[in-house]
C-alpha cells in the first residue's frame, strides 16, 4: 500500500562559494510545485551533504556550484552516495558549469545539469518525470 507522496529534495551548496541566490529560487519553485525541499545551506563538505541526504530520506539531491570546483566535488559526492548505499537518489547540478564539463558530469552519474536562465518549470517537470511511481 503506497500512497502518492511528495518528492523530498535536498538542496545544498558544496565547496566555498557563497552565491546562494539561485539555489534559493529553485527551492522556492520546488516548494510551490508541492515538493518537500530540505535546504541544507552553504559551504558544506561532500560528507555533510551525503549525511543529510541519508537522514532526510531524500529522493533527489540538487547541488549548486559557482566556484569552478564541480569536477572535484561532484564526483566526490557521487562516490560517497554510492558508498552510503544511496545510489537510488538522483543528483542534479546547477550553477556555473562550462559546456565541456556537462557530458563528463552526466557520464559520472549526474541526471541533469541546469545552467543559468533555466526556466523553473523545466526543473520541476524533469524531477517529476524522472521519479519513480508513487510520487505526487
Amino acid at each position: 500500500m503506497t500512497e502518492l507522496h511528495p518528492l523530498r529534495v535536498v538542496l545544498a551548496k558544496v565547496g566555498l562559494d557563497g552565491h546562494d541566490r539561485g539555489i534559493k529560487i529553485v527551492a522556492r519553485a520546488l516548494r510551490d510545485a508541492g515538493m518537500q525541499v530540505i535546504y541544507a545551506g552553504l559551504w558544506l563538505t561532500p560528507e555533510a551533504v551525503v549525511r543529510t541526504v541519508a537522514e532526510e530520506d531524500a529522493d533527489w539531491l540538487g547541488l549548486s556550484l559557482l566556484s569552478g570546483a564541480h569536477m572535484t566535488l561532484v564526483p566526490r559526492v557521487l562516490q560517497l552516495l554510492r558508498e552510503a548505499g544511496l545510489e537510488h537518489v538522483g543528483v542534479i547540478v546547477g550553477g556555473i558549469i562550462p559546456e565541456n564539463d556537462i557530458p563528463k558530469l552526466l557520464e559520472m552519474g549526474v541526471a541533469r545539469v541546469f545552467g543559468p536562465g533555466t526556466p523553473l518549470p523545466e526543473i520541476v517537470s524533469f524531477l517529476r518525470e524522472h521519479s519513480g511511481a508513487g510520487h505526487a
Binding site: 520546488l30 537522514e55 530520506d57
Partner: protein, 314 residues
Amino acid sequence: MLETLLERFRRHDRLALARLLSLVARGEQVEEILAGVGEPGSGAVSVPRGLARVVAVTGSGGVGKSTLIGKLIEPIRAQKQSVAVLACDPQSPLSGGALLGDRFRMPARPDDDGVFIRSLAAAGGYGALAEHLVDLIRLLEAFGFDVILIETVGAGQGDTVVRELVDVLVLLLQPETGDDLQWEKAGLLEVADVIVIHKADLPGAERVEAQVRAILALGTGSDVPVLRVSSRTGDGIPELWQTIAARPLRRRRQQSGRDLLRLAQQTLAARFAAAEAAGQSDLRQLLAAWQQGEISSAQAVSALVRFLANELET
C-alpha cells in the same frame, strides 16, 4: 519489503530509520512498524537502552529555535548521550509543498553517529503533526536515542498538544517582542517547563526576564526556571542543558494512560473499518437500528463497543 526494513532497523541501520520515519510521518503502516521495532529498551535494537528524554523547543518564528537546538547538541554529546532532532516547518496549505530550512542552522557533524537530524513538514494546523509525533518519537526511542529534541513550527495553541507528548517543553522568548500582556494573551507561559530569554546578548534581555518573572510570581507556586541564553556567545547553553536534564520526565508519569487509550482507539477504528468493509451482518443491523431510532445512541455505543471487543477476541 517492510520486513527487510525492520530487520535493518533492528541492526541499527540509519537508512532504514530514515525510511521508516518517512512512512510513519505519512501515516503509512504505522501499526506494523511500531510492532516491528519493539518497545524501547526491550533489546530489540542492538543497543538496549532506557527511554529517551523528549524535549520540545517552541517560540515564535525567528526567535532562534533551530540555532539553539544546534547549540544544545554540544553539551548533550559531551555527556556521551546520543541525540535525535525532529525539526518541523510548516507545509504550504496551497501547494502541499514545504521549504524545510532548519537543519542548515545546526552544525553538520557528518562523522558523528550519535546525532541524527530529520526535517518534517507539518501539515495545516497542528493536530496532524502531533498525531504522528508520538509515533515518530517512539521510533527514535526504539532506535536507542538518549535525547530527542523537537523543534515546533512556532508558538501557538498547538503547543498545549505538543506538551502532552514530551517530557520538557522549552519556551523561547527574545528581547523586543512586545510587552508583558502579549505573553499573558498567548497563554504560553503556563505550559512551559523551562523559559529561555534567548538572544540575551541583545539589549533588553534583563527587562524581559524581569517581566516574565513578575508574571510567573502572580501564578500559584510556579517553579518554572527562567534562563538567559545567548546562542551567539554560547552563554547559558550548558546551564540550559543542565536545567532541562534535571526536569522530571513527564511522559512516564502522565502519558502512558493516554498513549494506551490512543492505541486502543486506533485498533477499534481499524476493526470497525474492517467489519464495515466486510459487510458484517451484526454491524449492519446495529447501524440500521440506530439510524432508524430503534435504539438510543447510548445503547448503540455500548452495543458497538461490545461488538468490536468480540471482533478483537475472535
